[in-house]
Symmetry: C2
Subunit: 253 residues, 2 copies
């Protein structure tokens, strides 16, 4: 009754809850020069914030708040979003273990966006003052920041393309593939995972209505491209999904 392609009944196995090792973390190259791994706890205390665990729904920072810490996600996931005036929000990204948050506030020293934990999430928080002191001395750190920001810009550009030029099916297909790729990079299954974000979040991120997300997922399911049950997703036909996304996930040269 639960063979490949069949509808998913009952509850699916939950994701493993592993955290990234420091070695795999996007902030590693920032932390390493600070000697944070060597157990220098007096320094560690001045750099790290106390609260390192956020529950589902808790905020890492508010939009407009002064930049105090850079956050590296150790485990869990976070959404970032911009307030869009009328109480609505535009989700600008979903972030997983190993990613760094807060860099987009570096020049204004104020967070342009807000960050909220999607599930229980543990982070390393790096004091911005400390960070800047050290960065001034250590050009390698700055070069890392530039790399991270550059990658950020590239991701934004892909999203721009998605929002400007793709219909709902293409957006969702590209989204699922991107998720799949990012999870695979973290050694999770590329074809079977739990979404930590709601349909509404996905819709906001992709610029489509919540209901449209549901409808397109239903259509994909009818066509045998994937199976969903609530937040659990199994991708059944990656080839077809890529065709729908028109190779947005493909990397040239």
């Amino acid at each position: 009754m639960t063979g490949p392609g069949a509808t998913i009944h009952r509850r699916a196995p939950l994701r493993a809850c592993a955290q990234v090792a420091c070695h795999d973390c996007g902030m590693y190259r920032l932390c390493a020069p600070l000697g944070l791994e060597r157990g220098d706890f007096s320094l560690l205390d001045t750099v790290l914030r106390r609260k390192l665990i956020y529950r589902r729904g808790e905020l890492l920072y508010r939009a407009g708040a002064p930049l105090e810490y850079l956050f590296a996600i150790r485990g869990g996931s976070v959404k970032t979003y911009l307030p869009a005036g009328n109480g609505r929000v535009q989700v600008t990204g979903f972030h997983f273990a190993g990613e760094v948050l807060g860099l987009n506030a570096i020049d204004g020293h104020r967070h342009p966006s807000e960050a909220q934990a999607l599930e229980t999430t543990s982070v390393c928080a790096l004091s911005i003052e400390r960070f800047e002191q050290l960065a001034r001395r250590e050009p390698a750190i700055q070069r890392e920041v530039i790399k991270i920001m550059s990658a950020d810009i590239r991701r934004h550009q892909e999203l721009l393309l998605l929002l400007g030029k793709r219909n709902a099916e293409e957006r969702l297909a590209a989204y699922l593939l991107s998720l799949s790729r990012r999870l695979a990079e973290r050694r999770y299954s590329a074809t079977e995972f739990n979404l930590s974000m709601s349909r509404g979040d996905i819709g906001s991120y992709l610029g489509i209505a919540e209901e449209t997300v549901c409808r397109v997922l239903a259509r994909f399911q009818e066509e045998g491209v994937l199976a969903t049950r609530r937040r659990y997703v199994r991708l059944l036909d990656l080839g077809r999904l890529r065709a729908i996304a028109r190779d947005l996930g493909a990397r040239p040269g």
Copy 2:
């Protein structure tokens, strides 16, 4: 016959064709430490590219090409865009005097987007090798790069908001206000200017069809919000335009 609010007849006065002084250029803080202003031409030659003038339609760089130069726009305007598969493109930005192009290629060392002159445009081109040599020694340069990239990210986020959450009228109103503000910063008129980009470019940038751009502009004209004749635009009611854009241009704090 040509009073305020009236239709524009015949040809409108052309914009003044001033270039920014080095002092007002976004690359100034990058150039200054290199001593480029002091007439050190032997250094200048190793850093600057020969061709400094691009005609309308000429490319500054192609998508996928290796990063060779950073470009600072001295005068004129440039559009950047991503190839979107099917031969179509997504315009990702319009750039004016004082802005720096190419930074989004810094970590990949390949241009993710393509840049094309919208009119006769003069630039300073800074060799990336030279730049990186110098940046390694001079942390101040890197800090400037970080600032410029950070501002870039913020602009992208505003655009994301526009593409994800606004209808055609709101997008166009916000676009015109943003143009107006940027031109005013460069000491042009905030209410009267020539667009250097086509309706198609605007539509691509805003994620709407060329025809929709025309129709919305026509509607604005009927309502007395602005007057257009071809690429010449006069904003007649900034208040109303801001209301339509729902204060996207407003700066909090």
